[in-house]
């Protein structure tokens, strides 16, 4: 009998987004994420880096058809730069930057009430080998279509920087 090599399988990790709600209060549709490359980014509307929303939206438009989405995660833990209500943030993002990518409810990304999604994400080191706390608004994690974190970029890294684009292209299904 001929021996067969086991067929390589890419195990799909289930993202820890249970009970995570969208910005408008409904349950997050995990079909928007599973099987897709995802760029998870904690966002704030009153930060010097807030213009990154425009680049994030360009990424969304450029790669959405290839199985990619940005997931925005509002957070108010950095100098209170995301103080608004869900409605205010939604209006700000759509009217100022025309964002179309999904956004979650406001969550903690650091500290004792850190959301399970971030408990998992922050274990990934950045390019300098440093894992742990989210440093500031607009820190980016690129997840592969199989649910692995493949790259972490600190806030100053432009969402359209070559290294981010490379990571997204490697993460696509």
């Amino acid at each position: 009998m001929e021996a067969h090599e086991p067929t390589p399988t890419r195990l799909r990790r289930r993202l820890p987004v249970d009970r995570l709600q969208t910005l408008d209060g409904g349950p997050l549709d995990t079909a928007l994420l599973e099987g897709r490359a995802v760029l998870v980014v904690n966002v704030a509307s009153r930060c010097g880096m807030t213009p990154q929303f425009a680049a994030l939206e360009r990424l969304q438009k450029r790669f959405a058809d290839q199985g990619f989405t940005v997931l925005g995660v509002p957070c108010n833990q950095f100098a209170g730069q995301e103080p608004g209500t869900a409605q205010q943030l939604q209006a700000f993002c759509s009217s100022t930057y025309g964002t179309t990518f999904p956004m979650t409810e406001k969550v903690d990304v650091n500290g004792r009430r850190r959301h399970p999604l971030y408990q998992w994400l922050v274990q990934t080191p950045d390019a300098a080998g440093v894992a742990g706390e989210v440093e500031w608004n607009f820190e980016k994690f690129v997840l592969s279509a199989t649910g692995e974190v493949v790259a972490r970029f600190r806030p100053p890294v432009d969402p359209e920087a070559d290294e981010v684009i490379d990571a997204i292209e490697r993460a696509l299904p």
Partner: protein, 72 residues
């Protein structure tokens, strides 16, 4: 928190101080310096059961500190 608030230099803040600036109030449990690679900024962090909050300020900034007993 009510109390006697004094305007002080950011560089005089120590762990345990209660501070407020930009409409935010926190008890400092950690001081990060530099902040995001800049030696010109300090970041005060409260990491407690009450909240996790980071507040960066320029090192030459002043902010308010809730009264700390002064030595005589």
């Amino acid at each position: 928190m009510s109390g006697d608030w004094q305007t002080v230099d950011a560089t005089s803040i120590r762990l345990g101080d209660r501070i407020r600036a930009h409409g935010l109030e926190l008890t400092v449990t950690r001081i990060d310096s530099p902040f995001m690679g800049s030696e010109d900024f300090l970041a005060f962090v409260e990491d407690s059961d009450a909240q996790w909050l980071k507040l960066p300020v320029p090192i030459e900034a002043t902010l308010e500190r809730c009264g700390r007993p002064t030595r005589r």
